[in-house]
């Protein structure tokens, strides 16, 4: 003991510089580990997807429909009420966190693109390219090349989600390591960037993950990532928003043309078509493999949505998001409605796929909203509107035994592209204009209306304003609860719709057939033009020292 320690003690001033303190806990991944491992390089590439959102979780862990005129939220005190009563601001905006998250997604894309700039060399490190004829190496090269293109599209997606909310935002195209603030770029600048990023990456994107094409094999396990169709659908949506009244106050017709051309690019791929069944498309995993789905977020089996939104009268349900009378009365009757028949007879078939109403069967029982019924408005937490949500809900889950079902959220689907096209073509060339294309605005709209199983009467008007109303109405119906309504109203500058009273129905007693009276269930506050744009988050504005200018009115 003595022998060992005395010399050690004498040299101790020198050992202080030795490596005794070079410990490392081997739990976290260090940069060295990342650089020596292809899987990790690929995982950096995958990080560009980390903030691609599913609308099933958008607001209060539920659909965002209750912030628009589509629905009201039954559960009190959720953050959606901040939007509904107009008390949200730069501090309390429930979506403030998205500003952080989308820029994280952008950073992940920027970083991966820089990191993998020399990916062919990067992949050669420690690589055996001989024994299998270099097959694995070439496969990895392809993978990284696709991922680089997908990164650019993902970055465009995040910028679109930002501009949709904030208008012009800071444009950051490189990965930063030091603290830096940028002033807002204009809305047009962001749109141009989105378009150029998508155009620049189209050639390197996969056409599909599901099937093989050319020499490239299909890989269904990667389905869900960006493809050519998804990138073009994103471009179509971005250009449609850019041409809309809110972002195109001068009414520049060229912007509508661009939007129409972008939608037409998707249509002319001839890869997508409308699904045969509107009612099945949103239930379970049916959407996967449907020719209508361009890109979808796939949830593992779960029942949060059902727990939130099943009627309170169904064990385990909490009523949650309940469709409004405002939406219900927007559904057309097929032909003339006979005043002697039930209120809910003979409606647009999409109504029955979307809404649970009085007297219909849902989860094995008949919904009864009459005063003494199981779903009476007198019951605590029953639907205030008299309706319950059906779209996206898996039917007949036995929540008490925690039964679950898969859910698919369409990020882009073909019907939206057709409606984008119809809207843009009408603004650019009127309902019947073709401008060298194979499809008019009216054709596109009527394709959506004449889907098998929907078969609504065709729209015949040739008046541009009438047709505009028809397209807007069609979006409200076809895309209900898919997260479009609020943003459509905003870009159309229809703020007054967002401040209209939300209506529900009560059964009028002793009338046959059952009569309904409309009642106001919720007052809404929406201040224009202020609320057409989100306020930048309070803390971000504060710390930018004036570089980031707050949006007007906030």
């Amino acid at each position: 003991m003595k022998k060992n320690i005395i010399p050690f003690f004498l040299i101790c001033p020198f050992v202080l510089s030795c490596d005794y303190l070079d410990t490392k806990y081997d739990m976290d991944i260090t940069t060295e580990m990342v650089e020596s491992d292809y899987t990790k390089v690929a995982q950096i590439g995958q990080s560009v997807y980390a903030y691609v959102k599913s609308g099933l979780w958008e607001l209060d862990g539920n659909l965002s429909a209750a912030r628009s005129d589509e629905a009201v939220q039954t559960t009190p005190g959720l953050t959606v009420s901040l939007y509904n009563n107009g008390s949200w601001d730069d501090l309390t905006n429930p979506e403030n966190y998205l500003y952080d998250e989308f820029y994280k997604g952008i950073r992940n894309a920027n970083y991966f693109l820089e990191y993998s700039a020399d990916y062919k060399e990067l992949l050669l490190v420690n690589r055996d390219t001989i024994s299998d004829g270099g097959k694995e190496y070439r496969r990895d090269i392809d993978n990284i090349r696709w991922m680089r293109a997908e990164s650019r599209v993902a970055r465009a997606y995040y910028y679109f989600e930002l501009q949709k909310r904030y208008g012009g935002v800071p444009l950051v195209t490189e990965s930063l390591t030091d603290n830096k603030f940028f002033p807002k770029s204009s809305y047009e600048r962001i749109t141009d960037y989105i378009v150029s990023e998508i155009d620049g990456s189209i050639d390197s994107l996969r056409l599909t993950w599901q099937n093989s094409y050319g020499t490239v094999e299909g890989d269904k396990t990667r389905d869900g990532r960006f493809t050519v169709g998804a990138a073009l659908a994103l471009k179509s949506r971005a250009l449609l928003y850019a041409a809309s009244p809110l972002n195109n106050p001068e009414g520049d017709r060229e912007k509508w043309k661009d939007a129409a051309n972008a939608a037409y690019e998707v249509i002319s791929m001839n890869q997508y078509s409308l699904d045969d069944s509107y009612s099945d498309l949103f239930v379970g995993a049916a959407a996967l493999g449907s020719p209508e789905i361009i890109m979808a977020y796939r949830h593992s089996p779960e029942n949060t949505l059902e727990k939130n939104n099943y009627p309170i009268g169904t064990p385990g349900g909490n009523s949650g998001i309940t469709p409004s009378e405002n939406l219900v009365s927007a559904y057309e009757y097929v032909g003339e409605h006979d005043s002697g028949s039930s209120r809910y007879e003979n409606l647009d078939p999409r109504f029955y796929a979307t809404i649970v109403y009085n007297g219909c069967e849902w989860n094995g029982r008949i919904i009864d909203i009459s005063k003494n019924g199981q779903d009476s408005y007198l019951n605590n937490q029953s639907s205030k509107t008299g309706y319950y949500l059906k779209k996206f809900m898996a039917p007949n889950l036995y929540l008490q035994q925690d039964e679950m079902e898969r859910h698919i959220w369409p990020i882009f689907r073909y019907a939206e592209v057709l409606l984008n096209y119809a809207e843009a073509m009408n603004e650019a060339f009127g309902p019947d204009g073709l401008n060298g294309k194979s499809l008019s605005a009216k054709d596109a709209l009527n394709m959506v209306r004449s889907r098998p199983g929907v078969n609504m009467p065709l729209v015949t008007t040739s008046d541009k304003d009438e047709f505009r109303k028809a397209v807007r109405h069609e979006r409200q119906i076809e895309l209900a609860f898919e997260g479009h309504r609020y943003w459509d109203l905003v870009r159309w500058k229809e703020g007054d719709v967002l401040s209209e009273d939300i209506l529900g129905v009560r059964v009028s007693d002793d009338v046959s057939p059952v009569g309904y009276e409309k009642i106001v269930v919720e007052k809404r506050v929406f201040t224009v033009p202020k609320m057409y744009r989100y306020p930048f988050p309070y803390y971000e504005v504060q710390r930018s020292n004036g570089i980031l200018e707050q949006n007007p009115g906030w």
Partner: protein
């Protein structure tokens, strides 16, 4: 030797006040000085320039518990102990030395046993019988050599050593009877149903009475026809939990060789009923510990002194195979009427009965302890120290060299015997759980830690006439390995099994003292320590200290004064650091995590895959290093008229470089901001200790007061200033409560006919409100109640004042003592006990104080508008009412009778006949009563709002020696 007498007097009542008088007297007669720690060299009680609290090991035995952290409430100044769970295997009180000091939640004191750092899982299980003294090192001088381990104070424990003389054998036996300190019971089914009807009607608008439970149902509950279960009664046993401990110690030796050995046993059962039922289900939280220690000192060949100390324990514990914290959460929140424990008298094929359970109340509390099997674990821990000292007087007198090595480890093996059960309700299977037979899983010690420590020291101690010089210089290092499962600092991401974390630390430290004539003392100390948490180049820091003392009573002009026995003035300045932060280690380096991802695939009805996203955890900061705490301390120690003791310490701690996240980083950077050494906290405090001891004939009296007042202020926390200047933590105490200022409750008059708030009234941004909801002040008058209206709503849940009153009286063989301990200047947020104070939320139950909630149903004869303390009841989460607000803040102050004891010591002359050295029997009680607003109004322990309750106990004890 006037000086020597002073030391004795000082020791009499300062620290040993509650030691039975005979012990004290015998110590005095034996000429023992006041105990002092050996930090590099044995501290001199008179000459010390440091602020140190000492607690004698004998006092610790007064609280029968399996954890020594519960044994020293109120015995000294400068520390705060908060009682926690009373579960026998998880009952460590929370110790803070001189206040919070920092908002870095990973900061904690460091613990040393016999001069070597170790982990609390070892130290807290030491027996009172093996502890000589506990010291709490508080100021810059005391902590001068601890470097990066000293910022939060040090708990320094020394075990008993042998003595030269004839062998002594001491025996201690203790038997305790424990009950929960308090249990607040929810209402029964009828009470639940009545308030639920009210809440239900409130939620339907509050205008009409729309009951959920019919009068018949309520009547049935009252008649005992419906389920009406007192879950506490089902799960907890009626008899008290038992604590038993016995230990025997041996000590003795010659001038060359001394030994001390102790053998101990402890057994403590918990509150859960462990009676076997007819299905042979049983389990309880139990704890059983065996301790063995030997301390052996030997000197040989004139220059060598060797010391070997080995102490360790074996602890076996068992518990129901269900998380005990969750179980108590369920007991607090499951209503009485949900179901009976057994669904029916139907019998399963294996002969057992069917447990009840539903989707919203899946974990039937009785089934949780009886139907899921048991968990047991075996802890093994040991610390082995070896020290060799060479006296080098042949080189120069007073010079010595010392080498020491210490190994310590702790390992836990565990075994789970688990099963599951079907949840039944009305004969229908609920949830996806199904009856399953027992399965056994073993874990052979992946939970462990170990330390290897080396130390070498060169020292010098010599007197030259009136000049005295003492000094030492040491080098020490440790490596410590902790199994990944034990990781207590919450590292993000990437965990795999059986990974180990290594820690390394190096320290060069020195202390040099010069004193003149026992009147003037000056001391210099330093530590130069390095931690592996930082980047090369930033690992080492230097922490100096200087201190001085003036023993005024040894001056000529006071030496003959009988009225002043001791008067000493101390002052110290010193720095230390701390090398952990709540954000983890290696903050200088980029690490990557796979948080988040994106689902892919899933076609053809396959399960979707998940692609992992690999991203950096945060931006790295190569400059990151240890925080620095600069301490100032002045103190006075005095004794007057051989009866009165006064100790005063005033201190200031200036902590800088606390690791915080740099929140000035823009979101557009897209990565979590780096950590920087920027946080600042200033702590100030005053400690006062008063004592009086007197012997009047056969009566011996001792009374004392200990008081510590501490306040602090956050000077910088790295955050962007809060939207409301009044709610910015900077400038306030750490943990100050911020929120909305409640302004009573909304009334019918505040609403228009459409049920909406009248225009002009501020709109809360938390959703729709109605009469009976909390109204907040619009402090930032913009017509909206939101973040901008927040302000300070209360003190924090940490006392500014921590005090105790101690007493001891003896008359002939009888002795009586007590410890009253209290706090002041703290507040409690009732929302921290949501399940008790927010009824019905998340299907929870309701408590009796629902009668203080706002309600108005005139037709039902319900009108509790006047004097309402809580908002209207609701069956769901009410976002408006559950905002942090002044409505929920209550005074957290309390006064507890921590200990009261009556003992009888048999006269020596009787014992001599049977060759006994001493014999004492006693009875005592722990936590006998509590005075506090929370306790008196809501049956809630102010120290522990929820969870496994703290313990109160009555105990008997016997000690004797040969």
């Amino acid at each position: 030797m006037q000086t020597f007498r002073n030391i004795k007097n000082l020791g009499l009542c300062l620290g040993l006040m509650l030691v039975p008088a005979l012990e004290t007297m015998s110590q005095e007669k034996a000429g023992k000085a006041k105990a002092s720690p050996e930090i590099m060299f044995r501290e001199d009680a008179l000459l010390t320039t440091s602020a140190i609290t000492e607690i004698s090991g004998q006092k610790l035995a007064k609280t029968p518990t399996t954890n020594i952290m519960n044994t020293f409430y109120g015995y000294g100044t400068g520390y705060y102990l908060q009682e926690g769970s009373g579960a026998p295997d998880d009952n460590a009180a929370w110790l803070k030395i001189r206040g919070l000091g920092t908002f870095n939640s990973a900061d904690g004191y460091t613990v040393f046993v016999d001069g070597f750092q170790t982990d609390m899982s070892y130290a807290q299980r030491l027996l009172p019988a093996e502890i000589e003294n506990i010291y709490i090192l508080k100021d810059g001088a005391a902590l001068s050599t601890f470097g990066m381990k000293g910022s939060n104070g040090v708990l320094w424990i020394e075990t008993k050593k042998g003595h030269s003389g004839k062998p002594e054998v001491d025996f201690n036996f203790r038997q305790g009877f424990q009950r929960p300190l308090v249990i607040s019971r929810p209402l029964n089914s009828a009470g639940y149903a009545m308030y639920y009807n009210e809440a239900y009607s409130n939620d339907a608008g509050g205008k009409a009475w729309t009951p959920y439970y019919s009068d018949e149902q309520i009547a049935a509950y009252k008649n005992g026809e419906g389920p009406d279960v007192d879950w506490y009664k089902e799960v907890l046993k009626e008899d008290p939990a038992l604590f038993t401990s016995a230990d025997i110690s041996f000590s003795g030796g010659t001038s060359n060789m001394k030994y001390f050995a102790v053998l101990g046993y402890m057994n403590n059962s918990g509150f859960i009923d462990n009676k076997r039922d007819k299905d042979r289900h049983f389990s309880n939280t139990t704890y059983q510990q065996y301790t063995l220690r030997t301390n052996f000192e030997v000197s040989f060949l004139k220059i060598f002194e060797a010391y070997i100390g080995v102490g360790g324990y074996i602890a076996d514990r068992s518990a129901p195979n269900y998380d005990i914290a969750t179980l108590f959460g369920n007991l607090e929140s499951y209503p009485a009427n949900i179901y009976n424990p057994y669904d029916s008298d139907l019998i399963n094929p294996d002969g057992s009965r069917r447990w009840s359970g539903t989707a919203v109340h899946p974990d039937n509390p009785l089934a949780s302890v009886k139907g899921l099997g048991t968990r047991s674990s075996r802890d093994r821990s040991v610390q082995a120290n070896f020290r060799l000292k060479e006296k080098l007087d042949f080189i120069t007198e007073g010079l010595y060299l010392e080498e020491a090595v210490s190994f310590s480890n702790w390992i836990r093996g565990s075994k789970t015997v688990s099963r599951n059960y079907t949840r039944w309700y009305d004969g229908v299977e609920q949830t996806s759980d199904r009856d399953a037979s027992y399965t056994i899983s073993d874990d052979y010690g992946t939970n462990m830690w170990k330390w290897i420590q080396l130390r070498a020291q060169l020292g010098y101690d010599r007197k030259f006439g009136s000049h005295s010089v003492t000094g030492a210089l040491k080098y020490e290092q440790y490596s410590r390995m902790v199994d990944a499962d034990m990781n207590q600092y919450g590292f993000p991401g990437y965990l795999e099994d059986n990974l180990q974390m290594n820690y390394a630390y190096q320290n060069i430290a020195g202390r040099f003292r010069y004193s003149y004539d026992s009147r003037y003392v000056a001391e210099f100390g330093f530590a130069y320590s390095g931690s592996d948490n930082y980047m090369k180049g930033n690992r080492f820091s230097f922490y100096p200290s200087v201190s001085a003392a003036w023993i005024v009573s040894n001056e000529n002009f006071l030496e003959d004064t009988e009225s002043i026995n001791l008067l000493k003035i101390r002052a110290s300045w010193g720095q230390s650091g701390y090398d952990y932060s709540s954000y983890g280690r290696y903050l200088y380096d980029v690490t990557w995590t796979t948080d988040g991802g994106y689902p892919v695939g899933g076609l053809d009805n396959s399960e979707p895959g998940w692609i992992n996203a690999l991203t950096p955890s945060y931006l790295a900061n190569p400059e990151i290093t240890s925080e620095r705490n600069t301490r100032y301390n002045v103190g006075v120690d005095a004794r007057f008229f051989n009866a009165f003791d006064v100790n005063i310490d005033a201190f200031l701690e200036d902590r800088t470089g606390i690791v915080v996240r740099d929140q000035t980083y823009s979101s557009v950077v897209g990565l979590d901001a780096p950590f920087v050494n920027a946080g600042k906290v200033v702590t100030k405090g005053l400690e006062l200790s008063l004592g009086y001891d007197r012997k009047i004939g056969p009566v011996e009296l001792c009374f004392g007061f200990r008081g510590t007042y501490i306040t602090d202020r956050v000077d910088f926390n790295g955050e962007i200033p809060a939207a409301s200047a009044a709610a910015d933590p900077v400038g306030h105490r750490i943990w100050t409560y911020f929120g909305y200022e409640a302004d009573g409750f909304y009334t019918e008059d505040d609403f228009g006919p459409d049920g909406n708030l009248k225009t002009g009234l501020p709109v809360p941004s938390f959703g729709h409100v109605q009469p009976g909801d909390v109204r907040y002040k619009d402090l930032y008058p913009d017509g909206i109640i939101n973040e901008r209206d927040k302000t300070k709503i209360g003190n924090r849940n940490f006392p500014a004042l921590y005090y105790s009153v101690l007493g001891f009286v003896s008359y002939k063989g009888f002795d009586f003592s007590f410890v009253l301990q209290g706090t002041g200047g703290s507040d409690v947020n009732l929302l921290d006990a949501r399940s008790k104070f927010v009824p019905f939320e998340n299907y929870s139950t309701v408590y009796g104080y629902a009668d203080k909630s706002w309600a108005y149903y005139p037709e039902q004869g319900i009108d509790r508008r006047a004097g309402a303390e809580f908002p209207r009841l609701s069956t769901v989460t009410n976002s408006n009412n559950s905002q942090a607000s002044s409505l929920w803040i209550r005074n957290g102050a309390y006064l507890k009778l921590r200990n009261v004891e009556l003992g009888y010591t048999f006269p020596k002359r009787w014992l001599e006949k049977i060759r006994m050295r001493n014999l004492r029997i006693y009875v005592n009680a722990v936590n006998l009563f509590t005075v506090s607003e929370l306790y008196c109004k809501y049956d809630v322990d102010p120290e522990r709002l929820t969870g496994y309750p703290a313990v109160k106990s009555v105990n008997i004890g016997l000690t004797f020696g040969f």
